[in-house]
Protein backbone atom coordinates (compact mmCIF):
# COMPACT_ATOMS: atom_id res chain seq x y z
CA UNK A 1 0.00 0.00 0.00
CA UNK A 2 2.82 2.41 0.85
CA UNK A 3 4.57 1.63 -2.45
CA UNK A 4 1.33 2.42 -4.33
CA UNK A 5 1.07 5.67 -2.39
CA UNK A 6 4.70 6.46 -3.21
CA UNK A 7 4.17 5.65 -6.89
CA UNK A 8 1.09 7.87 -6.86
CA UNK A 9 3.28 10.85 -6.03
CA UNK A 10 5.04 10.54 -9.37
CA UNK A 11 2.19 9.69 -11.74
CA UNK A 12 0.34 13.00 -11.93
CA UNK A 13 1.83 16.49 -12.09
CA UNK A 14 1.20 18.96 -9.28
CA UNK A 15 -0.58 22.25 -9.89
CA UNK A 16 1.68 25.24 -10.43
CA UNK A 17 -0.04 28.48 -11.32
CA UNK A 18 1.28 31.44 -13.26
CA UNK A 19 1.38 33.69 -10.22
CA UNK A 20 4.62 35.10 -8.75
CA UNK A 21 4.58 32.36 -6.08
CA UNK A 22 5.56 29.84 -8.76
CA UNK A 23 8.98 31.55 -8.80
CA UNK A 24 9.63 29.98 -5.40
CA UNK A 25 10.36 26.71 -7.24
CA UNK A 26 13.73 28.14 -8.26
CA UNK A 27 15.06 28.00 -4.70
CA UNK A 28 15.42 24.18 -4.37
CA UNK A 29 17.24 24.23 -7.72
CA UNK A 30 19.59 26.99 -6.56
CA UNK A 31 20.23 25.10 -3.31
CA UNK A 32 21.12 21.93 -5.24
CA UNK A 33 23.47 23.86 -7.54
CA UNK A 34 25.18 25.51 -4.55
CA UNK A 35 25.57 22.16 -2.73
CA UNK A 36 27.02 20.29 -5.72
CA UNK A 37 29.29 23.16 -6.71
CA UNK A 38 30.78 23.41 -3.23
CA UNK A 39 30.99 19.59 -2.86
CA UNK A 40 33.14 19.43 -6.00
CA UNK A 41 35.16 22.61 -5.40
CA UNK A 42 36.18 22.34 -1.74
CA UNK A 43 39.51 20.59 -1.37
CA UNK A 44 38.88 19.40 2.16
CA UNK A 45 35.28 18.82 3.21
CA UNK A 46 34.46 19.81 6.75
CA UNK A 47 30.76 19.97 7.60
CA UNK A 48 30.76 23.34 9.36
CA UNK A 49 32.73 25.14 6.67
CA UNK A 50 30.82 23.33 3.92
CA UNK A 51 27.43 24.40 5.26
CA UNK A 52 28.62 27.99 5.70
CA UNK A 53 30.01 28.20 2.15
CA UNK A 54 26.89 26.59 0.65
CA UNK A 55 24.77 29.11 2.56
CA UNK A 56 26.82 32.05 1.26
CA UNK A 57 26.68 30.78 -2.35
CA UNK A 58 22.93 30.07 -2.08
CA UNK A 59 22.24 33.60 -0.79
CA UNK A 60 24.44 35.11 -3.54
CA UNK A 61 22.72 33.10 -6.31
CA UNK A 62 19.27 33.91 -4.89
CA UNK A 63 20.16 37.61 -4.68
CA UNK A 64 21.24 37.75 -8.31
CA UNK A 65 18.16 35.82 -9.46
CA UNK A 66 15.84 38.16 -7.54
CA UNK A 67 17.70 41.16 -8.99
CA UNK A 68 17.29 39.70 -12.50
CA UNK A 69 13.56 39.15 -11.89
CA UNK A 70 13.11 42.75 -10.69
CA UNK A 71 15.07 44.25 -13.62
CA UNK A 72 13.29 42.11 -16.26
CA UNK A 73 9.87 42.92 -14.77
CA UNK A 74 10.78 46.61 -14.71
CA UNK A 75 11.81 46.49 -18.39
CA UNK A 76 8.59 44.64 -19.28
CA UNK A 77 6.54 47.18 -17.29
CA UNK A 78 8.30 50.15 -18.96
CA UNK A 79 7.86 48.61 -22.41
CA UNK A 80 4.14 47.98 -21.95
CA UNK A 81 3.13 51.29 -20.31
Amino acid sequence: MSSALLAGLFTSPIHIGTDPASMLWMFPLLAAIAIIYKATKMRVLMWKRFIREVGILFVTLSGFMILAIVVLNLIAWLATT
Binding site: L9, F10, P13, I14, A32, I35, Y37, A39, T40, W47
Partner: protein
Protein backbone atom coordinates in the same frame (compact mmCIF):
# COMPACT_ATOMS: atom_id res chain seq x y z
CA UNK B 1 56.21 -3.14 -20.11
CA UNK B 2 55.44 -2.61 -16.43
CA UNK B 3 54.81 1.11 -17.04
CA UNK B 4 52.49 0.29 -19.93
CA UNK B 5 50.50 -2.12 -17.74
CA UNK B 6 50.36 0.48 -14.97
CA UNK B 7 49.09 3.17 -17.32
CA UNK B 8 46.47 0.76 -18.69
CA UNK B 9 45.37 -0.09 -15.13
CA UNK B 10 45.22 3.59 -14.30
CA UNK B 11 43.11 4.36 -17.39
CA UNK B 12 40.79 1.48 -16.46
CA UNK B 13 40.50 2.85 -12.92
CA UNK B 14 39.50 6.27 -14.31
CA UNK B 15 36.99 4.65 -16.64
CA UNK B 16 35.58 2.57 -13.78
CA UNK B 17 35.26 5.67 -11.58
CA UNK B 18 33.42 7.49 -14.40
CA UNK B 19 31.05 4.58 -15.08
CA UNK B 20 30.35 4.07 -11.36
CA UNK B 21 29.63 7.79 -10.95
CA UNK B 22 27.17 7.64 -13.82
CA UNK B 23 25.52 4.37 -12.71
CA UNK B 24 24.90 5.60 -9.15
CA UNK B 25 25.37 9.32 -8.41
CA UNK B 26 28.22 9.67 -5.92
CA UNK B 27 29.60 6.15 -6.45
CA UNK B 28 32.64 7.54 -8.29
CA UNK B 29 33.62 9.50 -5.19
CA UNK B 30 32.86 6.49 -2.99
CA UNK B 31 35.36 4.43 -5.02
CA UNK B 32 38.15 6.88 -4.21
CA UNK B 33 36.95 6.89 -0.59
CA UNK B 34 35.56 10.40 -0.57
CA UNK B 35 32.61 9.22 1.49
CA UNK B 36 31.28 12.63 2.59
CA UNK B 37 31.26 13.96 -0.96
CA UNK B 38 29.61 10.75 -2.18
CA UNK B 39 26.78 11.04 0.35
CA UNK B 40 26.19 14.73 -0.42
CA UNK B 41 26.24 14.16 -4.20
CA UNK B 42 23.97 11.10 -4.07
CA UNK B 43 21.40 12.79 -1.83
CA UNK B 44 21.37 16.02 -3.84
CA UNK B 45 21.28 14.58 -7.37
CA UNK B 46 18.74 11.82 -6.59
CA UNK B 47 16.67 14.26 -4.50
CA UNK B 48 16.63 16.87 -7.26
CA UNK B 49 15.63 14.27 -9.85
CA UNK B 50 12.86 12.96 -7.56
CA UNK B 51 11.54 16.48 -6.98
CA UNK B 52 11.48 16.96 -10.77
CA UNK B 53 9.41 13.78 -11.16
CA UNK B 54 7.13 14.87 -8.30
CA UNK B 55 6.48 18.24 -9.99
CA UNK B 56 5.98 17.04 -13.56
CA UNK B 57 5.29 13.30 -12.97
CA UNK B 58 7.05 10.51 -14.88
CA UNK B 59 5.51 12.00 -18.03
CA UNK B 60 8.51 14.36 -18.21
CA UNK B 61 10.57 11.31 -19.24
CA UNK B 62 9.57 11.47 -22.88
CA UNK B 63 12.26 10.57 -25.42
CA UNK B 64 9.98 10.50 -28.49
CA UNK B 65 8.38 13.93 -28.67
CA UNK B 66 11.05 16.00 -26.92
CA UNK B 67 14.42 17.01 -28.33
CA UNK B 68 17.18 14.37 -28.03
CA UNK B 69 19.41 16.63 -25.94
CA UNK B 70 16.69 16.97 -23.29
CA UNK B 71 16.48 13.20 -22.86
CA UNK B 72 20.29 12.93 -23.02
CA UNK B 73 20.45 15.44 -20.16
CA UNK B 74 18.03 13.35 -18.10
CA UNK B 75 19.95 10.16 -18.90
CA UNK B 76 23.11 11.69 -17.43
CA UNK B 77 21.58 11.26 -13.96
CA UNK B 78 21.78 7.45 -14.08
CA UNK B 79 21.09 4.68 -16.65
CA UNK B 80 18.11 3.72 -14.46
CA UNK B 81 16.32 6.70 -16.05
CA UNK B 82 16.00 4.48 -19.14
CA UNK B 83 14.05 1.90 -17.11
CA UNK B 84 11.83 4.61 -15.63
CA UNK B 85 11.25 6.00 -19.13
CA UNK B 86 10.21 2.57 -20.33
CA UNK B 87 7.68 2.33 -17.49
CA UNK B 88 6.45 5.87 -18.21
CA UNK B 89 5.99 5.07 -21.90
CA UNK B 90 3.84 2.04 -21.11
CA UNK B 91 1.48 4.05 -18.92
CA UNK B 92 -0.72 6.90 -20.09
CA UNK B 93 0.89 9.74 -18.19
CA UNK B 94 0.40 13.28 -19.40
CA UNK B 95 2.07 16.49 -18.26
CA UNK B 96 1.89 19.89 -19.91
CA UNK B 97 2.28 23.55 -19.09
CA UNK B 98 4.35 24.92 -16.25
CA UNK B 99 4.64 21.71 -14.15
CA UNK B 100 6.02 19.86 -17.19
CA UNK B 101 8.52 22.67 -17.89
CA UNK B 102 9.70 22.88 -14.29
CA UNK B 103 9.87 19.07 -14.01
CA UNK B 104 11.99 18.96 -17.17
CA UNK B 105 14.33 21.67 -15.88
CA UNK B 106 14.79 19.85 -12.54
CA UNK B 107 15.52 16.47 -14.14
CA UNK B 108 17.91 17.93 -16.73
CA UNK B 109 19.79 19.99 -14.14
CA UNK B 110 20.09 16.82 -11.99
CA UNK B 111 21.71 15.06 -14.96
CA UNK B 112 24.06 17.94 -15.72
CA UNK B 113 25.09 18.23 -12.06
CA UNK B 114 25.86 14.50 -12.07
CA UNK B 115 28.04 15.03 -15.16
CA UNK B 116 29.96 17.66 -13.19
CA UNK B 117 30.34 15.18 -10.30
CA UNK B 118 31.53 12.39 -12.61
CA UNK B 119 34.17 14.64 -14.17
CA UNK B 120 35.21 15.80 -10.68
CA UNK B 121 35.56 12.19 -9.46
CA UNK B 122 37.68 11.29 -12.50
CA UNK B 123 39.81 14.41 -12.01
CA UNK B 124 40.32 13.62 -8.32
CA UNK B 125 41.30 10.03 -9.17
CA UNK B 126 43.66 11.28 -11.88
CA UNK B 127 45.35 13.75 -9.49
CA UNK B 128 45.74 11.08 -6.85
CA UNK B 129 43.37 12.81 -4.49
CA UNK B 130 40.95 10.82 -2.40
CA UNK B 131 41.91 8.63 0.51
CA UNK B 132 42.34 5.46 -1.60
CA UNK B 133 45.11 6.92 -3.72
CA UNK B 134 46.79 9.50 -1.53
CA UNK B 135 46.33 11.64 1.52
CA UNK B 136 44.33 14.82 1.11
CA UNK B 137 46.13 17.99 2.09
CA UNK B 138 44.78 19.62 5.25
Amino acid sequence: MKNMRNSTDFALLLLFVALAGWAVPGAGHLLIRETKRAIIICATVVGLFAVGLYIGSVAVLEPVHTAWYIFAGQMLTTPAVGVLTDIAQKGEYIAYGRPADIGLIYTIIAGLLNLLCVSNAVYMAYCGRGQLIGEDEA
